[in-house]
Amino acid sequence: MDNYLEVSNLSKTFPGFQLQNISFSLPKGYIMGLIGPNGSGKTTTIKLILNMLKRDSGEVKLMGLDNISDEKTVKSNLGVVFDSNYLCEEWTVAQAEAAVSVFYKNWDKKKFSGLIKRFHIASAKKIKELSKGMQMKLMVACAFSYDAKLLILDEPTGGLDPVSRDELLEILAEYIEDGEHGVLFSTHITADLERAADYITYISYGELFFSGSKDEFVDMFRIVKGGRGELASDLDGKLIGARKFSTGFEALIKSEDLKLFGHLDVEPATIDDIVVFTNREGD
């Protein structure tokens, strides 16, 4: 069981939106970032994985088990963090622990109180009095307290300040250090992923654009820049999402076309560049 998550040909149709044939897998011990612009299907994918939405077709395996027929076993090994808090707002932190812990046989009270202390969460406070960063860390603390093998986070860094974001990434890196845990996390703030993620799955308009190692993803593209006159018309078709302006142009190109653009300024592309340019209609 080397893959903690295996998604094959997952599809779901809504009026006006279609998630089509999404397939990817995440080996244990690594972090995967799920990226794509708003409305591209990231949250739908996560909800399908968690069986919160009924899939039309396809298969999802978590830690080798089917996400529907083995739902109970799967979920006792799964931690989930959403961008909004799912705990009752009127509860205190201590009450939240009491409510959540009954669902998990292996809940570790000591570990929870240790994490609460480490994350500086005041346990007497009500959930609604906690900041967004604190609420997020509380959800992470819950997942860690029953030793979830796989952590799935949906937009965990949205609305967080840089300090909390950095803290979260540190927590995740520590979590996978032993090689026995995995993380799938969706975000559109790709600076978070630029360093921490091992794998990238990029969904655009409901279709899988890429899934594989981050380095491979970033290596697939380059940014090319030049003056307007420097672009021969036969090269125009090789540009992705070109932006042209009075003094020049910039565009994304595939690395395999690199030699055609040897005479122009070429620089490495960031994940953000790739997402932005691949979603632009060229000029």
Binding site: Y30, A173, R195, A196, D215, P268
Partner: protein
């Protein structure tokens, strides 16, 4: 061993790790049979991806500087420093060859070129 990752240097992170490990081997800071930092711990500490460190360590192994022992870690090879020295000598040779061809274009005599090298060497030892 000191390992620092720059975000602005433009050099890929795995390459930065490789270079710093190599110079630590060459300077003798990392001795033969000494273990490199654990892959996953290093990734966590530097806040970089595990696969990036894996790539750096794998390439160091392919180039003969270290060996990966499954389940135990990554260790410095005996001939590592020798190899790096050879690589560096190669680099010096090719840079000098480049300098010579530039000197020819500039019509510099061999003596002048020698003089130039001496001056530069002196500068470096002073600084």
């Amino acid at each position: 061993m000191k390992l620092i990752i720059s975000n602005v240097s433009g050099v890929p992170i795995y390459e930065q790790i490789k270079q710093q490990v190599k110079s630590a081997i060459l300077s003798g800071e990392l001795q033969e049979e000494e273990a490199l930092p654990s892959l996953r711990t290093l990734a966590k500490d530097l806040k970089i991806s595990v696969l990036t460190v894996t790539r750096a360590y794998t390439e160091l192994e392919e180039e003969g500087f270290v060996k990966n022992v499954q389940g135990r870690g990554c260790f410095v090879m005996g001939r590592g420093s020798e190899l790096i020295r050879e690589q560096l000598i190669c680099k010096v040779e090719s840079s000098l060859t480049e300098a010579i061809s530039a000197a020819r274009m500039a019509d510099l005599s061999p003596q002048e070129l020698h003089q130039l090298l001496d001056i530069l060497l002196e500068d470096k030892t002073d600084g």
